[in-house]
C-alpha cells in the first residue's frame, strides 16, 4: 500500500515511461532469442556456415569454441547474449569487419531516408484525410477515397522503378539512382550522419542540394505507397470527431472553421500517433526494397547483400538491430499516445 502511494505521487509522465521501460526488457530478451534461433534453424554446422566455405579447419574450431557449440543450447544462448552485451556481433566474412561497425556505418543512411519518408507519409495522409472530410462529397473526397484504396495495391518497388524511368530516363530531372550523394562531391564531415544536415553544418550547399535531390525519389516512392493507409485510417478517425456534437457546438458558437479543424485534429491525434509508429516500423521493411533500387547503401541494402551472400552472421545482426529499433519506436509511440490522451489512467 505504501509503495503504491509513492508510485501514485510520481509525475504521470515518469510513471508512463517507467512502465514502458520495464516492458522493453523481456521483449528485448525475446528478440535476442529469435535472432539466436534463426541461425540454429540452419541445417549443418553454424560455425562453418557463418565463416563460409573458404575458412580453415583451425578457424572453424576456434569459432566453435567462441560460440560454445560443444555445450548445450542454453549455454550457447547465454554466450550469445554475453557477446551482444559486449557489443560483439561477430565478424562478417564478406566485409571482414565487425558486424556492429558495418551496421553503425549504414544506419544513418536508412534513418535519414525513413525519417523524411515518415514525415511526408503522415503529413500527406493526414492532410488528404482532413481536406476530404471537411469537403465531403467533393471530387477531392472521391479522389482521396480511390487513392486510399488503390495505394494499398501498389508494390513499392514498382513505383520506385516507374519514378526512376519517368524522372531520370524520360525527363532527366532526377539524378541517377546511385547512392545518396553525387560521386563527384566530397562527403561532408560526419556529425549526425544525415547528409542533409551534415552538409548544412559544413556550409557545403552543393552537397546539400545533391543530398536533398537524391532523397526526393525514394521518399516520394515510400510516401505514394504508404500515405494511402494513413489517409484511410485518419479519415475514419477524423470524420467520427467531425460528426460529433462538439464540432456542431463549436460551429453554433461561431468558432472559425480553421480553429474547429485544429481542435478536431488534436482530438484525433492518439490513433494517428500509433499508426505513424506502425508505419515507421513497416517502413524499415519497405526501405529494404527502395534502398536496393536506389543503391542507397543503408541497412536494407546491407541485409539484401547478406541474403544474397548467405552471410548469416550479418543477417542475424541486422534482424537484431532492426527489431530492437522497432521495439524502441513502438515504445516511444506508446508513451506519446498516453501523454497526448489524458483520459488514459496510469
Amino acid at each position: 500500500m505504501r509503495t503504491r502511494d509513492i508510485w501514485r505521487r510520481q509525475p504521470r509522465l515518469l510513471r508512463i515511461v517507467l512502465i514502458r521501460l520495464a516492458l522493453i526488457v523481456p521483449q528485448m530478451f525475446g528478440v535476442t532469442l529469435v535472432a539466436f534461433l534463426l541461425i540454429r534453424l540452419l541445417p549443418g554446422d553454424p560455425a562453418r556456415l557463418i565463416l563460409g566455405n573458404f575458412a580453415t579447419d583451425e578457424s572453424i574450431a576456434l569459432y566453435r569454441e567462441k560460440l560454445g557449440l560443444d555445450k548445450d543450447v542454453w549455454t550457447q544462448f547465454a554466450i550469445y547474449v554475453g557477446n551482444i552485451l559486449k557489443g560483439d556481433f561477430g565478424t562478417s566474412p564478406f566485409t571482414s569487419r565487425p558486424i556492429l561497425e558495418d551496421l553503425a556505418d549504414r544506419a544513418p543512411a536508412t534513418l535519414e531516408l525513413i525519417l523524411y519518408a515518415v514525415i511526408c507519409t503522415v503529413g500527406l495522409g493526414v492532410t488528404i484525410a482532413v481536406v476530404s472530410v471537411v469537403k465531403r462529397g467533393s471530387p477531392f473526397d472521391w479522389g482521396a477515397r480511390i487513392y486510399g484504396f488503390a495505394a494499398g495495391a501498389l508494390p513499392d518497388f514498382l513505383v520506385a522503378l516507374l519514378l526512376v524511368f519517368v524522372f531520370f530516363y524520360l525527363l532527366g530531372w532526377a539524378p541517377a539512382p546511385f547512392g545518396r550523394l553525387d560521386l563527384m562531391l566530397n562527403t561532408p564531415p560526419q556529425v549526425t550522419g544525415f547528409l542533409t544536415i551534415d552538409s548544412l553544418i559544413a556550409g557545403d550547399f552543393e552537397a546539400f542540394r545533391s543530398a536533398a535531390g537524391r532523397l526526393i525519389l525514394p521518399v516520394l516512392t515510400i510516401t505514394i505507397v504508404n500515405a494511402g493507409a494513413v489517409t484511410k485510417m485518419a479519415h475514419s478517425v477524423f470524420s467520427e470527431i467531425w460528426d460529433s456534437p462538439i464540432v456542431g457546438h463549436m460551429r453554433a458558437c461561431g468558432v472559425p472553421e480553421q480553429q474547429i479543424v485544429r481542435a478536431a485534429l488534436r482530438n484525433s491525434l492518439p490513433p494517428i500517433i500509433s499508426v505513424s509508429s506502425f508505419i515507421l516500423g513497416f517502413l524499415l521493411g519497405a526501405a529494404v526494397l527502395v534502398e536496393t533500387i536506389f543503391s542507397w547503401g543503408g541497412l536494407g541494402q546491407y541485409a539484401v547483400q547478406a541474403v544474397i551472400n548467405s552471410d548469416y552472421a550479418a543477417l542475424q545482426g541486422f534482424v537484431l538491430v532492426a527489431s530492437a529499433f522497432i521495439l524502441v519506436v513502438y515504445s516511444v509511440a506508446d508513451i506519446l499516445y498516453e501523454v497526448v490522451d489524458p483520459r488514459i489512467r496510469t
Binding site: 525475446g30 508494390p155 514498382l158 524511368f165 530516363y169 513497416f282 541474403v307 543477417l315 541486422f318
Partner: protein, 282 residues
C-alpha cells in the same frame, strides 16, 4: 423477380464487377496457361533478347529472351498458389486457435496472446527475408513466413468474436440442453464468428501476393527461372534506367491488378456483411 433485383444490384457495384472480372481472368490464366501462353515460360532464346512489345512477343522479351506475356500467365499459378496456400493454412491453424483462446480464458490463453503480440511486433518484411534466407529459397519457405503473419491475425479476429458470442443467451441455451464445450465451440460459436474472417481472407490473399513479390524482388523468395511476378520485375529493374521499361512494367501491373481484385472483393464482402446483418430478419 429476386434474381432480376440481385443482378441489377450486382451491376450497380462497379467494384464488384471489376473485382470478379479480374478474379475470373486470373483463374482462366491458372487453368488454361499452357493454351494461352504462346511460348513455354522458361524457354530462353538469346537471339530474341530485349525485344520491345511486338506481334510475336506481345509484351516483349527479357534480357535472356524469355517471352514476358507467357511468363506472366504462368506466374499466376505460382503467385496465387502461394497466396491461397498461405491463407488456407493460416485459416486452418488460426481459426481453431482463436476459438480455443477465446473460449477458455486462462493463463495458457493469455500466454498464447502474448506470444502473438510478440510475433506481430517483428517487422514483417525483415523477419520474412531472414527466414526465407535461412529456410531455403523455396515456395514453401515463403508460405511459412506468410503463415507467421496471418495465423496471429486470424486468431485475433476469431477470438474477438468468440469473446462477445460466448456470453450470448443462445450459448447458455445450448449448454443447458447438454452440449459439450466442443460442440458449443464448433457448432454454435464458429459459424457465427466466421463473417469477419471471411472479409479478411480476401485482403490477406492480396497482402500475400504483395509480400511474396517483394521477397522475390530482393532475391529472398522464388528463384529463377521460375516465373514469378516479383522476380520478373526484379530482372527488369536494371534495364529500367536504360529506358527498357517493358520487362518490369508488365509483371508489375499484374501484381497491382491481382492485389486490387482481392482488395475490391474484400471491400464488397464487407459492405454486404454490414448491410446484410442489419437488414436481414431472422
Amino acid at each position: 423477380m429476386a434474381s432480376a433485383r440481385s443482378s441489377r444490384s450486382v451491376f450497380a457495384r462497379p467494384g464488384l464487377v471489376i473485382g470478379l472480372g479480374l478474379l475470373a481472368l486470373q483463374f482462366i490464366a491458372i487453368v488454361f496457361a499452357p493454351w494461352i501462353a504462346p511460348f513455354p515460360p522458361t524457354e530462353a532464346n538469346p537471339l530474341d533478347s530485349l525485344q520491345p512489345p511486338n506481334a510475336v512477343h506481345w509484351l516483349g522479351t527479357d534480357e535472356i529472351g524469355m517471352d514476358i506475356f507467357s511468363r506472366i500467365v504462368f506466374a499466376t499459378r505460382v503467385n496465387l498458389l502461394i497466396g491461397f496456400a498461405a491463407v488456407a493454412l493460416s485459416l486452418g491453424v488460426g481459426v481453431p486457435v482463436g476459438l480455443l483462446v477465446g473460449y477458455y480464458r486462462g493463463l495458457p490463453s493469455a500466454l498464447v496472446m502474448r506470444f502473438f503480440d510478440f510475433i506481430q511486433s517483428f517487422p514483417v518484411f525483415v523477419l520474412g527475408m531472414a527466414l526465407v534466407a535461412v529456410l531455403g529459397q523455396e515456395i514453401w519457405s515463403v508460405v511459412i513466413v506468410l503463415c507467421m503473419l496471418f495465423v496471429p491475425m486470424f486468431a485475433r479476429i476469431v477470438r474477438a468474436e468468440v469473446l462477445s458470442l460466448r456470453e450470448r443467451p443462445f450459448i447458455a441455451a445450448a449448454r443447458c440442453s447438454g452440449a459439450g464445450d466442443f460442440a458449443i465451440m464448433f457448432r454454435h460459436i464458429l459459424p457465427n464468428a466466421m463473417t469477419p474472417v471471411i472479409v479478411q481472407v480476401s485482403v490477406s490473399i492480396g497482402m500475400a501476393i504483395l509480400l511474396t513479390a517483394g521477397l522475390s524482388f530482393i532475391g529472398a523468395g522464388v528463384r529463377l527461372p521460375s516465373p514469378e511476378w516479383g522476380l520478373m520485375v526484379s530482372s527488369g529493374a536494371q534495364q529500367m534506367i536504360l529506358g527498357i521499361w517493358w520487362i518490369a512494367l508488365f509483371p508489375g501491373l499484374a501484381i497491382v491488378l491481382s492485389v486490387l481484385s482481392f482488395a475490391l472483393l474484400s471491400d464488397e464482402a464487407k459492405r454486404y456483411v454490414d448491410t446484410g446483418r442489419g437488414g436481414r430478419a431472422r
